[in-house]
């Protein structure tokens, strides 16, 4: 970002140093090895210059003056004294001021031991207090949301949290109240700090004022062992520090990097830490007998599963899932099914995604950092705030800080509408028509179209909802690529779905972005795998229908819950019900796992190591820090045992060994070794090559001519951040935050049905649900929006059209 800034020379405490021009003095000094104390300064926030801890002396034409080094840009010839008597007295003075009203309840403070106030009082403070007056008193911590507590006595009013909420997350639900000695950070009356990003304020709080309920009093910082890893909550793969105490993951922190998350996490990323320690976790293999699960040994479970899977014709077996875990796990899954079982039917997506070749190989593919230089951003896909919240932060920054123009096309209001230059809302099903008009710049779309004429353009393209035809995204991408200097970022949400596709967990792909139709690639793979089942295979929809029709017999569910996640739950239920044998790799009992004959417990967050590939095609390292719970095991090792039991041999003794095999087998992953991902520049991951490099698959998106539906009750259903999925349900911090779900109606539709907010409606689509009504004027008339997979909405599914009836009094 700043590599081409010219260097200037400043004199720092008597020594001439070369620094980058334009940066803040506090940064320049730090890079030159001089740490200036600071509290309000944070490199990812705009400088506020309020704590005054970073005062230094700068020589000027009218003598030396004390200036805050966080708001003072360096200039050529600047003479700076950070340790002069005056500077040191000022720094000491500020520290004393900060401490006069600080309660010094460090022994019972979560921050104690990792507290910038403690550390800097130690390094820069006077060491004793002269304050004998009464300190400021407030009610000790008050909850300001379901997750966050605020201790106003500890607060030093640095405004990091309020600036984060205002500048970064765009939901300023906390602010200063009163003034002077009484100024305090607090929420607005009756408005909790219900932000999807609230945990970040706890992490950047330089004292123990903001604490997170899930972590409070769990550990002392000096007991913590941590390892760097990435979050598999969504496909952005935010960098995290997995922090443990006594083999328990007690906290997840964001790790700053330029590439993905800038240190920020969504609260879902952050507070899923304890699902791995849930009492509901399956930690022993389970075998179903007479309709009931009983605990079994691994030997028994493996031999039963191998025996049953081996009893069917290879192509009668199918696999679904593989997107929740590492690339190594996904690779083992693909290898086991394609070469040991001998079936082409495997899919990491659950009918809620995109064409695998498009997702894996659209070109040119944008990196997240392309947003930093984008002039125009087209977002035609999911509501990022709900589905890819950290990407939402990056887009928000690109617009509000860097001045990009944002054009959003979506069926309803999204989290970014407030910063968008143009928002186009449409009735689901009419997308192709909207696209044609937008491309032509017709009438109401003329302004948005002309905004798109300014490159570089980054097009964020995905499905706006689960009822939408996935081919629309490709048509949008095709249009986008005609825009000036355009790149496309395909939007898929689920954990490591891009890694799974790259590992060949797709009906049309072999590992390393090789098409199943690519004869040479296939031959090359056969040298390593022996045999590779003929493709292309069935996708998840085809697999579920195949099972229901008796065309398929058995199913390997690898961390997938099609009953909850496949858009047509009735199809999922029929398929699972009809299957002769199902083995499920799971951490928790799920609606789908309940159909299994064998459940194999798998290791999860912090328990596994490997790599994962994110939305940009960036491969990063996942690290282990705790042993697997109970008898649970990494997925790859289970497939290893199953392969052995079926007389084959994968030959992998560890995830690391599999990684080496991937580097040798999968062209796009050629030569990538773990060491590269752990140190130096590779710590931020390596973006896999585009088609000019080793990636053989090319995919130019095409307008597949999606038909518009004509139904007058159109369903828009999409995921929200906190849903009724297994991970949220078993994470104690956020489980309670999932809403029950409602039917959102345009006011005129509500009046046609003679219902108002709070009344109930019955909706019949693939399934049938009763929901309270919420009036939503941002929808097109004739559209009903139902959040997917919440307690009350699960089972409705994502049929394109639904019937709606008011539930009359007494009937509810």
């Amino acid at each position: 970002m700043s590599d081409d800034r010219p260097a200037v020379t400043i004199t720092l405490d008597g020594v001439d140093v070369q620094v980058e021009s334009g940066q803040a003095l506090i940064e320049a000094a730090q890079k030159a090895g001089t740490y200036i104390p600071r509290f309000c300064y944070h490199p990812r926030l705009k400088a506020a210059g309020v704590c005054r801890a970073c005062l230094v002396e700068v020589e000027g034409p009218r003598g030396t003056a004390l200036v805050p080094s966080c708001t003072t840009p360096v200039g050529d010839g600047m003479v700076v004294h950070t340790k002069s008597d005056t500077a040191k007295k000022a720094q000491e003075g500020v520290l004393e001021f900060l401490l006069v009203n600080h309660p010094l309840d460090c022994p019972v403070c979560d921050k104690g031991g990792e507290c910038p106030l403690q550390d800097q009082a130690f390094a820069f403070g006077a060491g004793e207090t002269r304050y004998v007056e009464e300190k400021r008193h407030y009610e000790k911590p008050i909850p300001i949301s379901d997750l966050i507590l605020m201790d106003r006595e500890r607060c030093i009013l640095c405004s990091r949290c309020t600036r984060f909420s205002d500048e970064i997350s765009g939901d300023p639900l906390i602010d200063f109240k009163d003034r002077g000695n009484y100024v305090q950070v607090i929420t607005f009356p009756d408005e909790p700090f219900a932000s999807y990003f609230s945990g970040n304020t706890v992490q950047i709080c330089p004292v123990g004022a903001l604490t997170a309920k899930p972590y409070r009093f769990k550990a002392r910082p000096w007991d913590i062992e941590a390892v760097e890893s990435v979050s598999l909550v969504d496909a952005v793969h935010s960098k995290i520090s997995v922090q443990t105490s006594h083999n328990e993951i007690i906290r997840l922190y964001g790790v700053d990097n330029d590439a993905t998350n800038h240190g920020w996490l969504s609260d879902k990323d952050r507070f899923v830490n304890d699902h791995v320690h849930s009492e509901d976790r399956i930690t022993t293999p389970l075998i179903k007998e007479d309709g009931e699960f009983r605990e079994a040994t691994w030997a028994e479970a493996i031999s039963l599963t191998a025996e049953r899977l081996g009893s069917f014709d290879g192509p009668k077996v199918a696999g679904v899932g593989g997107a929740r875990s590492t690339n190594e796990d996904a690779y083992s899954f693909a290898k086991f099914l394609r070469s040991v079982v001998g079936t082409p039917h495997l899919d990491a997506q659950l009918g809620d995604g995109l064409d695998p070749s498009f997702a894996a190989a659209v070109t040119p593919r944008a990196e997240i950092n392309d947003l930093e230089s984008a002039k125009t951003i087209l977002l035609w896909g999911p509501d990022l705030k709900e589905e890819l919240p950290v990407l939402y932060l990056r887009v928000r920054r690109a617009v509000t800080e860097l001045g990009a123009n944002l054009v959003i096309v979506h069926p309803r209001r999204t989290g970014l509408d407030d910063v968008a230059a143009h928002t186009i809302r449409y009735k689901p099903g009419t997308g192709p028509d909207v696209l044609r008009k937008l491309a032509a710049g017709d009438g109401e779309y003329a302004e948005a179209r002309s905004a798109l004429g300014f490159g570089p353009v980054v097009a964020l393209v995905g499905r706006t909802g689960l009822a939408e035809n996935p081919d629309l995204a490709e048509a949008v991408a095709a249009f986008s690529l005609e825009l000036p200097d355009a790149k496309v970022l395909p939007l898929l949400r689920r954990g490591n779905v891009f890694g799974a596709l790259d590992m060949g967990v797709a009906p049309t792909l072999l590992p390393g972005r090789v098409s199943v139709d690519d004869a040479a690639g296939r031959t090359a793979l056969e040298e390593h795998w022996g045999s590779v089942a003929d493709g292309p295979g069935l996708d998840t929809g085809g697999i579920l229908e195949g099972l229901a029709a008796g065309d398929l017999d058995a199913l390997v569910l690898n961390g997938a819950d099609p009953v909850r996640d496949f858009p047509l739950p009735s199809t999922a239920v029929a398929g699972l019900d009809a299957a002769q044998f199902i083995v499920a790799f799971e951490m928790f009992m799920s609606d789908s796992a309940a159909y299994a004959d064998v459940i194999l417990p798998v290791a999860g967050l912090g328990e596994i190591e490997g790599t994962a590939t994110n939305i940009e095609g960036r491969i990063q390292k996942i690290n282990q820090i705790i042993p697997s719970a109970g008898m649970s095991r990494p997925v790859w090792s289970i497939f290893e045992d199953l392969a052995l039991a079926l007389g084959a041999e994968h030959g992998a003794a560890s995830a690391g060994a599999i990684s080496e095999e991937i580097a040798a087998v999968a062209p796009a992953y050629g030569g990538i070794a773990w060491d590269q991902l752990s140190w130096g520049a590779g710590r931020d991951g390596i973006v896999l090559p585009g088609p000019d490099g080793a990636q053989p698959l090319e995919h130019a998106p095409s307008d597949k001519g999606v038909p518009a539906t004509s139904g007058h009750r159109v369903l828009h259903t999409a995921r929200v951040l906190y849903d009724d999925g297994v991970m949220v349900r078993h994470s104690s911090g956020i489980a309670g935050l999932a809403s029950q779900g409602a039917a959102h109606l345009h006011p005129r539709d509500a009046s046609v049905l003679a219902v108002t907010e709070g009344d109930e409606v019955e909706i019949r689509g693939d399934g049938e649900v009763r929901l309270p009504v919420v009036i939503d004027p941002s929808l097109a008339e004739g559209t009903v929006y139902v959040p997917f997979n919440l307690a009350r909405t699960a089972g409705l599914g994502a049929a394109a059209e639904v019937r709606l009836d008011a539930v009359r009094g007494g009937d509810a």
Binding site: A48, T71, G93, F97
Partner: protein, 451 residues
């Protein structure tokens, strides 16, 4: 001392000096006509520069120079008139707003014409409902008469004026805090640069001038800058409204020409000290100004430069007189408490430091002073305003925090023995020293015009 620019009308016509009829009857809006009909904007600016008028809000910055800071090509520009007069002892703008609002309105229109401004704002302190009402009525009258709105007097010049009543915070008199408040944000000073002339209201070039400053503009344009400059000493040109309060016999607003002595101001104009008590000290220019004492300063001249040379400032022209009965710790406590109460709370040294000073002073008044409190008070002041110099060095964004050190430093400079007496250990068996906050009660009961 008989020259009057600003107060003539209200003195001559106390019952209706605020009405349009009286204003026009006494020659009002004639200067506007002259300006719009026969003067170019830059000619007006030239007159203002030639007048050498310096801002009456407190900083005494030359108005013409400030106007010259506007970047030439950025539009819109705004004019904001600062009527947030909240400094203890200052009550001159209140009178100008209440008694002669059209004089200000005419000044605004002429200034706006000179600055190519088409929307001006007047920010009035929240505790001034009557002045705000009077001004709003004057503005309404001006709209009706065609002095405001579109195509003013057929000149093609358009101007709207908006009156904004503050929420009761002294800090909003600081120009950048005022702009934030006007924008609907918390009234917190902004880091300068950028200065308002470059990036002010709504991030556009903005001139912020005091009510009194702008009220002078009609006279300057009518009579010429040179004539204004000829009044009084060169660097304190024109007249100035001084607010006299405290222990004088005749508190009030007086329009004076700079150059008279403090003795003349306090004794001849103010009528001397109440009960013919002895003069102990006075605040020469608002609560943030270091104090003056009779031995050193009574015969020095009242000019911007002479006051500065003697280590204080003329500020907003508020003179608070303290007689021999004044408990200096009580007086300092009262002033420090004001700043502590009015600190916006952004900057640590101001938020924590002013409150700490206030608490130490309160403790001394309550009889629990310790000898080490003298050094502590001065060192806390030093940590807010390093070096305790004048003009003050700052550890903060705005001068409010450093202002709070002025009374403490003044008290120590001139009356250290009195403070020492209050913090000495009590003689055995005797009462604790001090133990009397009586002075403070008196301050509170007196209100602004009778500290």
């Amino acid at each position: 001392m008989t020259t009057s620019i600003l107060l003539d009308r209200m003195v001559a016509h106390p019952s209706d000096s605020h009405t349009l009829a009286r204003y026009v009857d006494t020659g009002g809006y004639e200067t506007l006509k002259k300006a719009l009909n026969s003067m170019k904007p830059e000619e007006i600016t030239a007159e203002v520069k030639a007048s050498n008028i310096r801002g009456r809000g407190g900083a005494s910055f030359p108005t013409g120079v400030k106007w010259g800071f506007l970047p030439p090509d950025t539009r819109p520009r705004y004019l904001v008139v600062n009527g947030d007069e909240s400094e203890p002892g200052t009550f001159k703008d209140r009178m100008l707003l209440e008694r002669d609002p059209h004089q200000l309105v005419e000044g605004i229109i002429i200034s706006a014409y000179a600055l190519d401004v088409h929307h001006a704002f007047v920010y009035i302190r929240g505790e001034y409902p009557k002045p705000a009402r009077r001004l709003q009525r004057a503005i309404d009258e001006a709209y009706e008469a065609g002095y405001l709105g579109g195509d003013i007097l057929g000149s093609g010049f358009d101007l709207d004026v908006t009156v904004h009543l503050g929420g009761g915070a002294y800090i909003c008199g600081e120009e950048t805090a005022l702009l934030s408040s006007l924008e609907g944000r918390r009234g917190e000073p902004r880091i300068k640069p950028p200065f308002p002339a470059v990036e002010g209201l709504y991030a556009k070039p903005t001139i912020v001038n005091n009510v009194e400053t702008i009220s002078n503009i009609p006279w300057i344009v009518a009579n010429g800058g040179a004539k204004y400059a000829a009044i009084g000493p060169e660097t304190s040109s024109g007249t100035r409204v001084m607010s006299l309060s405290g222990h004088v016999k005749n508190p009030g607003d007086y329009e004076v020409v700079a150059g008279l002595s403090w003795k003349e101001l306090i004794y001849d104009i103010g009528g001397g000290i109440r009960d013919d008590n002895k003069l102990k000290a006075w605040v020469p220019g608002g609560a943030s100004a270091p104090w003056f004492v009779p031995d050193e300063h009574l015969n020095t001249p009242v000019t911007i430069d002479d006051i500065a040379k003697n280590g204080s400032m003329i500020g907003s022209g508020a003179v608070i007189v303290m007689d021999e009965t004044t408990n200096v710790v009580g007086a300092a406590h009262r002033l420090v408490r004001f700043f502590s109460h009015e600190s916006c709370g952004q900057c640590t040294p101001c938020r924590e430091g002013t409150t700490w000073l206030e608490r130490i002073l309160a403790r001394i008044l309550d009889g629990y002073g310790r000898p080490e409190d003298i050094g502590l008070l001065l060192d806390v002041c030093d940590n807010i305003s390093p070096g305790l110099a004048w003009p003050p060095a700052m550890t903060t964004i705005c001068p409010l925090g450093p202002s709070a050190t002025a009374p403490v430093v003044s008290m120590m400079k001139y009356f250290r023995d009195e403070v020492e007496a209050m913090v000495s250990p009590p003689p055995s068996g005797g009462d604790v020293a001090g133990g009397d906050r009586g002075g403070e009660v008196q301050f509170e009961a007196g209100g602004t015009s009778n500290v």
